[in-house]
Symmetry: D2
Subunit: 127 residues, 4 copies
């Protein structure tokens, strides 16, 4: 488990107080202070992540494309979107912390693989 | 849209090549190069996020708590977990980019609110 | 589309007023009376089905196996379970109506296929 | 648990070999023959239901409304839709069997409640 995102930053690291690792650390301390860790099993957190992703989708389920694109123009629905984004990210980060997964490294690796899997089409020769 | 996470970093910022903002930028360039932006509507991305969260949950659906806790011990299932984490994070980040949401700020705000909503219980007086 | 489940029953059919076909018919008339059909596209209904399945899962996400098994003992949580079951079934049925899928025939076919795919293990010869 | 849908039909009932109750009975015997009941807890079945609903949504996630409406015209995608409908219905029915919920009664009750909650608008007086 060398890639635990919640490892405390070394003293000479840049602050990055709002980076994903720092938020993972805040979430871990938040759960520990409330003794919620027994509930935060990988399976429960994966279920909670899926539930929250459903709540984000719920905002959009009956909207037309135009309404969906304008969802941040209304303060109330913008708040709801940000709130569900936060919930999804919170459970994803906590899931990763519990299993020792580095989500940023996982995503960087996936993009690397996808760049090989989906090569950019060459433009036509005469263009 | 002052909080777009994909804004290019200023010249004197620390590199942070693996930070969430840099990955958001890579994902935006990846989709643009393949002309996938027309598909990346907020509603489609919210649906894709929900689908990928289901795929992560699928790994755990029949596992006992013991099996779930050991899921990273097997290289194949560990790879599958990292792959689905990457997919969830990729669609969450792309959703945020399209709507101009800063996911780290949304999560920091949510933790702030939850610290007020769920106060830490005081220890007994004689402890 | 020979398998539309909302076809009116023939005059000499058994009543089956509570069968799935009759409920599909009630749901179709309910939506038509409120002019909701433009929203009831296959994609929107699939999204709504997924959202409601998440709401059913939400009831169980933090429960222990014992608490989950006892969920119908509490009238309030029993009502919530029945309500979410109804929502999932309602969107599944409406999805099927819109696309002309017979859900009962689809399930019967799937069980047929699964009986071939997962043969019952033979008992040991000496037992 | 007076409403268990898997109760065997009485001798003078109409056959209804393809009704939802008969399919619930087939599914219960299928799982029992393979000794899968220990895995079929309410929580696991609710998770599996959500996963399968995600797989149904996956078919539609990048489709335009026109493509989504034509999904049954292609035999391969039509088969995939029927297959995912069957999986969703199978887990919903098994969930209901395990908890003693009658899904048809739950849906009928919900439609009753929704008819009160969403009254049909009166047509204009001069129409």
């Amino acid at each position: 488990m060398t890639d635990r995102p919640e490892d405390p930053p070394a003293a000479d690291d840049p602050p990055a107080a709002d980076g994903l690792g720092a938020l993972a650390d805040r979430l871990a301390r938040f759960a520990a202070a409330r003794r919620w860790q027994p509930f935060h099993t990988p399976k429960n957190l994966a279920a909670a992540l899926s539930v929250e992703a459903g709540e984000l989708l719920e905002i959009f389920q009956w909207l037309t494309p135009e309404q969906a694109a304008a969802v941040m123009d209304d303060p109330e629905s913008a708040h709801r979107v940000r709130d569900e984004v936060a919930d999804v990210l919170a459970y994803l980060v906590q899931f990763c912390t519990v299993l020792g997964v580095d989500p940023l490294a996982a995503l960087a690796d996936k993009i690397d693989r996808n760049e090989l899997r989906f090569p950019v089409p060459e433009p036509p020769a005469d263009s």
